[in-house]
């Protein structure tokens, strides 16, 4: 004889598989969105700027700047494209052929040794903020260096050397731009976009289990099925267990398929298999208990739908399923750690960047289970009252 909870879970799964919307939400949508996210953000992992340069000066300082831009230190970051005029450079930026442009005005070199040095002009596109930032940063670095040189000459002259000798000594040096530093995560490996958005989207759509499982409970109740089931020798708690068991099995299957497909098709790195599986199971368990929580808190189907939507989007926004948590303000980063999905994403990220095993995921798993136990305690308190009403 099968346990009633298993019978109910099996029936629910049969209905869910038959209902294509569940398959779309549980498998197809996360794969498609993760692929689109990866596509949209691929290229942001390594930034490269095509910079138009208008050299109207042709003096030593201008040549020094162009040489510096073409130096080995910047070749990964910048490709210099000569432009004939400011208008041509501006058109190229507008058309997106170059990310930004720098205009060296006529007389620039000569003006450096004068009282009023001529300014460098940068041309940027508001739609390409990273390019604008890099160009501005390069220009400011160069200007800072020029100012430092002017100060050196002034000090040398004040120290008794002739201005010509000081300038000649300075001209013998080549301008060098400061070494760019790139901040990376603490892990040994770089985090690929797909390795973040695959779990982020998988968890986001996993959260929808809360909605359609809790909804199915109230549909059963409103259509008289709950009464019919309870008229059989079935304890009320078996109905709730059956519902959440089906949510758990569906969640595990959905996440498993997404892990397999994103790994094989998009090259997403979920980290050590055992650790990733443990983390995934903990997350599915958290979602399952959240489902039970919504069922025992809501009183009607409409309430269940409303609460589910709030839970899904609230957790997803706080937990970082839509944006990299690391680029959000510190308050958001702290709030993310109040959510099970925030911990799960942190766990997947750590696994992907450190290449570590289960030990790396222990803290995220423990945090998710702590949330699960707390939610389960609330369910245990409310369930008898709710199921008897």
């Amino acid at each position: 004889m099968a346990f009633p909870a298993l019978v109910i879970a099996e029936k629910d799964l049969r209905q869910r598989i038959r209902d294509r919307s569940a398959i779309i939400l549980g498998v197809v949508a996360p794969l498609v969105i993760a692929a689109l996210m990866s596509l949209a953000f691929s290229g942001t992992e390594t930034i490269h700027l095509t910079l138009g340069v208008v050299n109207s000066d042709h003096g030593a300082a201008a040549a020094g700047l162009v040489d510096a831009l073409r130096s080995p230190a910047l070749e990964d970051l910048v490709t210099v494209v000569p432009e004939t005029s400011e208008a041509a450079a501006s058109a190229a930026v507008r058309a997106g052929h170059t990310g930004a442009a720098m205009v060296i005005p006529p007389g620039f070199t000569a003006s450096i040794s004068g009282a009023r040095p001529l300014p460098l002009t940068t041309l940027t596109n508001v739609n390409n903020a990273p390019a604008a930032q890099i160009t501005s940063s390069i220009a400011q670095s160069f200007v800072a260096q020029v100012n430092a040189d002017r100060l050196s000459v002034a000090l040398a002259v004040a120290g008794g050397r002739s201005p010509a000798a000081a300038s000649a000594a300075l001209a013998a040096t080549r301008p060098t731009l400061p070494v760019q530093t790139v901040e990376r995560a603490f892990g040994a490996k770089e985090l690929k976009t797909a390795s973040y958005y695959a779990p982020a989207m998988a968890i986001f759509f996993l959260l929808f289990t809360v909605s359609f499982t809790s909804r199915s409970f109230f549909v059963d109740r409103d259509q008289g099925m709950l009464e019919r089931i309870l008229a059989a020798p079935v304890r009320p708690i078996s109905v709730l267990l059956g519902k959440v068991l089906s949510a758990f099995v569906f969640g595990v299957a959905s996440l498993g398929i997404i892990i397999a497909v994103t790994t094989l098709a998009f090259g997403a790195d979920w980290g050590d298999p055992l650790a990733a599986a443990s983390l995934s199971l903990a997350m599915v368990l958290a979602v399952t208990v959240t489902t039970a929580l919504v069922i025992v808190v809501a009183r009607t189907q409409r309430q269940a739908e409303g609460i589910s939507s709030f839970v899904i989007f609230g957790l997803a926004l706080l937990g970082g399923n839509f944006v990299f948590v690391s680029v959000t303000p510190s308050i958001m980063q702290r709030l993310a750690l109040l959510t099970p999905n925030g911990w799960a994403l942190r766990g997947y990220t750590d696994l992907a960047t450190t290449g570590g095993g289960l030990a790396v995921a222990v803290v995220p798993i423990a945090a998710i289970l702590a949330y699960t136990v707390a939610a389960a305690a609330v369910v245990a308190v409310l369930a008898p009252r709710v199921l008897e009403r």
């Binding site: 019978v7 009464e227 019919r228 008229a231 020798p233 079935v234 304890r235």
Partner: protein, 319 residues
């Protein structure tokens, strides 16, 4: 299968004693008591809102009574042992439209702990009993309303219940399907099941029930066989007036006549409980004429449960 074969204790299958249930200030069921032996079809007859459904929900263990007891084959209602003996057929179709007929029955059968072979046997039997065998593989959503009703009943038979509870099983059903359902219900009694049959259709209660309990405003106001109940009327007849206009005014005018024991409005008709209907008919028509209401049909009916209900409650069965 007989109740004895199903492990039922000898004596009444269903014993209801002093059953009471309130919803806030409203008393939905008020001190109701009755019992049903094996093989008897017991009708709970009353208008909508009389407390029939609340009563049977307590019988099936779906609602806790505030007071009173229910025992099914000796087991307290709501216990797993009692539930195992009950087949419940709710008023609304309580089945999954996205599952096939067979899948619905298999699901419900498994909840009663039926194992694989026995489950298939019971499902086939229930499908055959309700003439749905050839549609078993179709989804419920493809069934007609009458077929869904029949499958709804079939689902209540899977556990070979000693007590079958049917809550208004013919509501919204076409006459042909209703006839088929009523025929089938009569056979359940012959199979040895005790049957509780709630209805607000007097004709159904008269046709299928061995005994009838008349329920009004939560109280069981009378019970007995049809003959017992009708005999309470003595020589009274029921006059049914079809008319258009203010029927309450017509009923009120008739109520004042000598020989009229009761008058009520139901289904765009005025029901009168009278002594010697044929003799009183001219006076009734005169009263109608005085009110200015045009009577379109007159029917003098032999004593029936409708008249009994009017006699006992002063209201019509279908308000």
């Amino acid at each position: 299968m007989t109740p004895a074969e199903n492990g039922a204790a000898p004596g009444p299958i269903l014993e209801v004693v002093g059953l009471t249930r309130r919803f806030g200030d409203r008393v939905a069921v008020d001190d109701v008591s009755f019992s049903i032996p094996p093989g008897e079809i017991y009708g709970l007859l009353g208008p909508n809102g009389a407390g029939k459904t609340t009563t049977i929900k307590m019988v099936c263990g779906l609602l806790h009574p505030d007071r009173g007891t229910v025992r099914i084959a000796g087991h307290p209602a709501g216990s797993l042992a009692a539930k195992a003996q009950v087949g419940y057929v709710p008023q609304d179709i309580a089945l999954y439209p996205d599952l096939t007929g067979r899948e619905n029955l298999r699901f419900l059968g498994r909840l009663f702990g039926l194992g694989s072979d026995l489950l298939d046997e019971r499902v086939d039997e229930a499908l055959e009993l309700t003439n749905l065998g050839d549609r078993a593989k179709e989804r419920l959503s493809a069934y007609s309303g009458g077929m869904q009703r029949r499958l709804n009943i079939a689902a209540g038979l899977l556990n070979h219940p000693v007590l079958l509870v049917l809550d208004e099983p013919t509501v919204g059903v076409d006459p042909q399907s209703r006839h088929a359902i009523l025929e089938r219900v009569q056979t359940f009694g012959q199979l040895g099941m005790a049957v509780v049959y709630t209805t607000h259709y007097m004709e159904e209660a008269e046709r299928v029930c061995d005994r009838v309990g008349i329920v009004d405003q939560g109280r069981l106001v009378a019970e007995g066989t049809r003959r017992d109940l009708v005999d309470r009327l003595g020589e009274r007849d029921r006059i049914e007036l079809g008319a258009t206009g203010n029927l309450d005014l017509l009923a009120s005018a008739c109520r004042d006549l000598d020989g009229v024991d009761g008058a009520a409005v139901a289904d765009r008709h005025v029901q009168l409980l009278v002594h010697d209907g044929r003799k009183l008919l001219p006076a009734v028509l005169e009263a109608a004429e005085r009110t200015g209401i045009r009577v379109s049909s007159v029917d003098v009916v032999e004593p029936d449960l409708e008249a009994v209900f009017l006699h006992l409650t002063g209201t019509a069965l279908r308000d």
